[in-house]
Symmetry: C2
Subunit: 145 residues, 2 copies
DNA sequence: TTGATTTTGCAAATCATTTGCAATATATGC
DNA sequence: GCATATATTGCAAATGATTTGCAAAATCAA
């Protein structure tokens, strides 16, 4: 999305970071593909532009600290997707059989106001949470796996 | 807990696995310490018995597949704790400042009956979920970090 | 106790990710 | 645009966590 790219480019400038081919390319992939991708998957689509895997990792790391991208851990290599500031806060349904990953907008942590409950009960101030749901997607279920 | 150890020993036998010094030692640690531990931390307390780090990893892997232990991913090395069959289903509060890890019994996924809702809406059959909460524990909050 | 079967210690391999460094690209002020 | 100070990159080597091959040692069932 052009809007998002422009905004992020500007943000990088403000923070004293350059707008480089590598960063731009990685970001293009992430704004294009909705599911969380591995560094290696991102690299596969930008390597033709002569961009090194290390640079992909470096770009992702920078984006993560700037809250542009968030890391998603689903077992194995980490995955990355645009952060909540650019896409609705959401969680994932991961199919154990075929590996398909879908978004779920429903957040039970927000729905239950869990953050407030925990703060009241324990004094712990929740600032973020990780929630991932695993199971079988409709079609794998049909295939009786 | 003696009860738990006996039960697991019996379970291993049933499934054709031996009851070995390494497995017994790892299990003793896990039934003793309530917070999720890293392989290396477990090893530190059993190395004196001449047990190798590889064996700790192998024991943990076996226990995981037998649903005796569950892996907890909180960033960095994986951690392991007794599985839900032996301890209440629960999640964690991880303090970003001091690293303290507490259990939370409240499960918003169960509370919201999210599994059923998702199945109805999307056909996806949720079988398990991962939820970890990050923030500042009461005392780190007081210290104003 | 014994022989068949598992498991272990150890070292080397693997996998994801990070890092040092010299070469290259980007930004900024002419 | 052009020069140049600074930031970034490619590449290869390092790292940290976890896994693996294999011969030796432990466990198990008879
Ligand atoms: Mn997503
Ligand atoms: Mn726990
Ligand atoms: Zn949420
Ligand atoms: Zn739960």
């Amino acid at each position: 999305m052009r809007q998002t790219m422009q905004h992020i480019k500007h943000l990088l400038g403000e923070q004293g970071h350059s707008w480089t081919r590598a960063r731009s390319a990685v970001l293009t992939v992430l704004t294009t593909v909705p599911s969380p991708l591995r560094a290696e998957e991102i690299h596969r689509t930008v390597r033709s532009s002569g961009i090194n895997l290390s640079s992909v990792y470096r770009a992702l790391r920078l984006f993560e600290t700037l809250n542009i991208v968030r890391r998603v851990e689903l077992g194995g290599a980490a995955r990355y997707e645009l952060a909540d500031d650019y896409r609705h806060h959401h969680h994932h349904l991961v199919c154990d059989a075929c590996g398909r990953i879908d978004d779920v907008a429903t957040c039970p942590v927000e729905a239950a106001d869990l953050t407030r409950q925990i703060r009241k009960r324990t004094g712990f101030a929740v600032r973020s949470h990780v929630l991932e749901l695993f199971g079988l997607c409709r079609s794998c279920r049909r295939d009786g796996r």
